[in-house]
């Protein structure tokens, strides 16, 4: 009944487990400061900071956000999100232009992008439809199997996916006379879509559909008894998440200018899960925090490790151990750590936040 009441009032009761979207409203001054910082960053940030740090963070953050939406609100940890993004990237390369002229069809960029997003969304939704027929922990296995199958398929197939080498020279188009390949326009492009994705997730999570989805996460049988079609809600959640991942995939292929099987290999697929879990799966901002940490580590860890006398090649070990520590000691990721600290020192009366990895 609690769920029914919240459907009409629009506010989750305090007893309902987080993640609740209500607290993600930009009412904190820190969020406004962050927004201002991101907006004026091009004034003093170098091209490297804009593209390699923040552009990449936004893209990975969006993919992880789509996983956070499924995992945090729907209770379905899907490993197929990176594959959906990779699929969209491949489709842009195949329908648009690339250096592999024998395969690329050379359609106008807008048509290629739309078709790519539609196909990738279909792919993600179908994967979701397959995995929601089983319950809980099976999802992670089935989606991992689908993701690996996509990887090995793109690796072996030369007639469509151009095998091991994939596609390179996939260029960002010039639109409205602006060269979107340049650092500042591309930075704003990724920022724009990241913000749109973030707001869309916040909005959907508070819509009747999002609340019903959270209901299916907490008690699927009760939702079924209340007359909700649980399977349909879950598949719709996959469709929504796939759109976000697909948009991010288009940006991803433009960001790197190339796509190959390794882009959506098993490593990157797991990295997205690590980003989402490390950042925190209880709120939509978590994946972006996780992505920023990941990108910073990826970019600077090698130098730092060598500077302090460690072998820079052991980067994966660092990631693995770090992930292990986070899962063992703070299942809510960095957000969880911050909330715990916040609760203990600043606001002892705040209600406990739950959610994330259970």
């Amino acid at each position: 009944m609690a769920v029914e009441a919240s459907r009409t009032s629009g506010i989750l009761p305090a007893s309902a487990p987080a993640p609740t979207a209500a607290s993600s409203l930009p009412r904190y001054p820190a969020l406004w400061l962050l927004a201002l910082f991101l907006l004026i960053l091009p004034a003093f940030g170098s091209d490297f900071v804009l593209i390699q740090l923040f552009g990449w963070t936004f893209i990975l953050g969006m993919i992880a956000l789509s996983l956070m939406f499924l995992g945090g609100y729907g209770g379905m940890v899907s490993l197929v999100q990176m594959t959906v993004a990779g699929c969209a990237g491949y489709m842009v390369a195949i329908f648009g232009t690339s250096a592999v002229a024998e395969i690329s069809l050379g359609w106008p960029w807008w048509l290629a992008v739309v078709v790519a997003i539609v196909i990738a969304t279909l792919f993600g939704t179908l994967s979701g439809a397959l995995s929601v027929r089983t319950e809980g922990i099976y999802t992670i296995m089935i989606t991992l199997a689908i993701a690996s199958a996509f990887f090995y398929f793109t690796l072996q197939n030369y007639s469509i996916f151009n095998g091991f080498s994939g596609f390179n020279a996939v260029r960002v188009p010039q639109v409205f006379g602006i060269d979107w390949r340049a650092a500042v326009p591309f930075y704003y492009l990724t920022l724009f879509w990241a913000v749109i994705a973030y707001l869309a997730v916040v909005y959907v999570s508070r819509s009747p559909f999002g609340l019903a989805l959270q209901g299916t996460r907490d008690n699927a049988r009760r939702m079924e008894a209340l007359g909700f079609n649980v399977t349909a809600h879950r598949i719709a959640a996959y469709a929504f998440a796939s759109v976000i991942a697909a948009v991010a995939g288009v940006l991803l292929v433009w960001h790197g200018g190339q796509i190959s099987p390794g882009t959506a290999g098993v490593g990157p697929v797991v990295d997205i899960l690590i980003i989402a879990v490390a950042g925190g799966m209880s709120r939509p901002i978590g994946p972006f925090i996780g992505a920023l940490i990941y990108v910073l580590l990826r970019t600077f860890a090698l130098d730092v490790m060598e500077a302090v006398g460690l072998d820079g090649k052991r980067f994966q070990l660092l990631v693995g151990v770090g992930f292990l520590l986070i899962v063992l000691f703070s299942p809510d990721g960095v957000l969880g750590l911050w909330q715990r600290w916040h609760r203990r020192f600043l606001a002892p009366a705040a209600p406990p936040a739950r959610g994330g990895v259970r």
């Binding site: 940890v77 397959l130 995995s131 027929r133 089983t134 809980g136 922990i137 099976y138 992670i140 296995m141 089935i142 991992l144 199997a145 689908i146 690996s148 199958a149 090995y152 398929f153 072996q156 197939n157 030369y158 007639s159 098993v266 797991v270 899960l273 690590i274 879990v277 090649k313 052991r314 994966q316 070990l317 990631v319 693995g320 151990v321 992930f323 292990l324 899962v327 063992l328 299942p331 990895v357 259970r358």
Partner: protein, 336 residues
């Protein structure tokens, strides 16, 4: 079997006809028309036996995986890493001692001990938190993969097989008849046949242990209802520890086996993990006969796929998984 025939007479007829046709394909000398459709008989037979023996390897890995999942609800995504680690260790010990069988045993024991340590120090504390356990196994697999890369590098390794296992053996299967009327028999590597026989023996022993012994009874009871089992006074943690050790040990054992007739290299862990995932999804989670059936199907699909449709071999495996998921989400051999 007879109950299946009574309940589904039509399907039973189809199955029997398919089996008879397969027997015909294996035993008969192929007429020219058939060779035009399926290619040379030697290729077909090799793919068939390769598929069956590969299924034996998959069964060894996947049965440990499915046992651990069935009892503890722990999706051990580090299973492939345990396989690869077992293979590397087996390689080291086989070179050190020269004993292949000994290296199998040592790999089993060491990986089983590692599994025990993992269960005792980590998984015991997060019982019932499926997702968290799975995330931990992912972290462990990343750490193990990098440690192995550190120690063994990116090279290929192959576990040396003993002299009594090397070389081909002649099977009593005619592949072709020469114009002189002399029959040509199929040559096949002995080591793969021995390994397959070993997998079958282990599978049968495991089935007997699960269905005919007291410990097996405890494990089966735990699969059905963990809480009731512990409520009856069984020290369920000990059962968990034993099963985790056994499942992990099987992965290490399979690593040496796989390292003997395939090769060991980084990335093999993911490949084997994917194979066991698909095997247990197809066969049914937590079911040993399901793992056997799934392993056979996937092994055959992979081999026939790579012979008859090289660029789509992976897709064939995947299509099988999708069809099973669409038709029987719980897997082929698992009651709903």
């Amino acid at each position: 079997m007879s109950r299946f025939i009574e309940r589904h007479p039509a399907w039973a007829l189809v199955a029997i006809l398919a089996l008879a046709f397969l027997l015909y394909l294996v035993l008969a000398t192929w007429p020219p028309g058939l060779e035009e459709v399926l290619g040379r008989k030697r290729v077909f037979l090799t793919a068939l036996i390769n598929g069956i023996t590969l299924g034996g390897l998959y069964f060894l890995v996947a049965s440990g995986f499915t046992l651990i999942f069935g009892l503890m609800r722990n999706v051990n995504l580090a299973h492939g890493s345990l396989y690869l680690l077992g293979g590397y260790l087996g390689y080291e010990f086989a070179n050190l001692t020269g004993g292949w069988v000994l290296s199998l045993v040592i790999a089993f024991i060491i990986i089983a001990a590692l599994g025990m340590v993992l269960q005792f120090t980590i998984f015991r504390w997060m019982e019932g938190q499926d997702l968290r356990q799975t995330l931990v196994t992912i972290a462990i697999s990343i750490v193990l993969a990098d440690l192995m890369l550190w120690r063994w590098g990116g090279d290929f390794y192959q576990v040396p097989s003993p002299s009594w296992l090397t070389g081909p053996v002649q099977l009593p299967l005619v592949t072709a008849v020469r114009s002189s009327g002399e029959a040509v028999y199929l040559q096949y590597p002995l080591v793969r046949l021995i390994i397959f026989a070993g997998a079958v023996v282990i599978g049968v022993l495991m089935w007997l242990a699960l269905n005919r012994t007291k410990v097996g009874m405890l494990v089966r009871a735990g699969v059905d209802d963990r809480d009731m089992l512990s409520a009856t006074g069984v020290r369920v943690q000990l059962v968990f520890l034993g099963v985790f050790a056994f499942g992990a040990g099987l992965a290490g054992f399979a690593g040496v086996v796989g390292g003997t007739f395939q090769s060991l290299q980084p990335g093999e862990d993911t490949k084997i993990l994917l194979a066991s995932l698909v095997v247990v999804i197809v066969g049914g989670m937590g079911s040993i006969p399901g793992a056997a059936l799934g392993a056979l199907i996937i092994g055959l699909a992979e081999q026939f796929g790579s012979v008859y449709m090289p660029t789509y071999a992976v897709v064939l495996t995947f299509v099988i998984m999708v069809l099973v998921l669409a038709w029987r989400p719980q897997g082929l051999l698992r009651g709903s």
